[in-house]
Symmetry: C2
């Protein structure tokens, strides 16, 4: 499947190792991850040289053409919240995952929109397991 992976950039990069683990696991499962570069430790420097309008147009096009969104939501981010809403409004399945114990917006954890799953994980391995299970369940339901 074509996966849009969504994570914090401007809001903070403390969870970058989990982002990398998630992206690597999805690639290893054979999925195309449109935003694989967002998991790189160097992404802030790479994206800094691209003007905002270009980044917006690239990312919103990917959100609109992907099959599914996988979002890591431990770190608050306007961009991630925006992408989740835009995807759900277009009927895309969305997985939001975050570290257990983190405070996350009630607009996500209280959200009952069809197609949205919000899950917690304790470590990288569990985050990866959540993403794999979510994507496999979609592949199965498509049959």
């Amino acid at each position: 499947m074509n996966v849009y992976f969504s994570c914090s950039l401007t809001g903070g990069r403390d969870d970058q190792p989990v982002y990398a683990a998630l992206v690597n696991a999805m690639l290893a499962e054979g999925h195309q991850v449109l935003t694989a570069h967002l998991a790189s430790p160097e992404v802030m420097a790479e994206e800094a040289v691209i003007d905002a309008a270009t980044v917006y147009q690239r990312d919103i096009t990917w959100v609109e053409t992907c099959d599914v969104v996988v979002a890591e939501v431990s770190t608050p981010s306007h961009g991630v919240g925006y992408e989740i809403a835009h995807a759900l409004d277009r009927g895309k399945p969305v997985l939001c995952c975050y570290r257990a114990g983190t405070r996350v917006s009630k607009m996500l954890i209280g959200n009952n929109t069809a197609g949205l799953s919000v899950r917690t994980y304790r470590d990288e391995a569990e985050a990866v397991s959540l993403a794999k299970t979510f994507l496999r369940s979609l592949a199965t339901s498509d049959r």
Copy 2:
């Protein structure tokens, strides 16, 4: 007009004085601010006792029924990003304002969606002026 004022809760409350100035100014201009309570210093304690599903349902209903969204976006927030996208997807006018010099997501500052205005301010007075000018321009264009 019915204004949905959107600001960070879980993501941080450092900008609460600006939120209060914005809400008070819009009320003084005769607008109804559906989310006026979000500008209160006590809102975190007040909202903590309401379950997430109730907050989500209340807030998403307000986003869908308001005339316009005014969002303060200096502090990253999934909920604020979500509400901005949901409002724009329904054709609502949205003002995003933030302190000059703050780094804000390119999904907002690079966003060319019709109806969205993104502006910086230097102090509370300028933030208030932005909101008043934005709301008056909508009232004029409605005539």
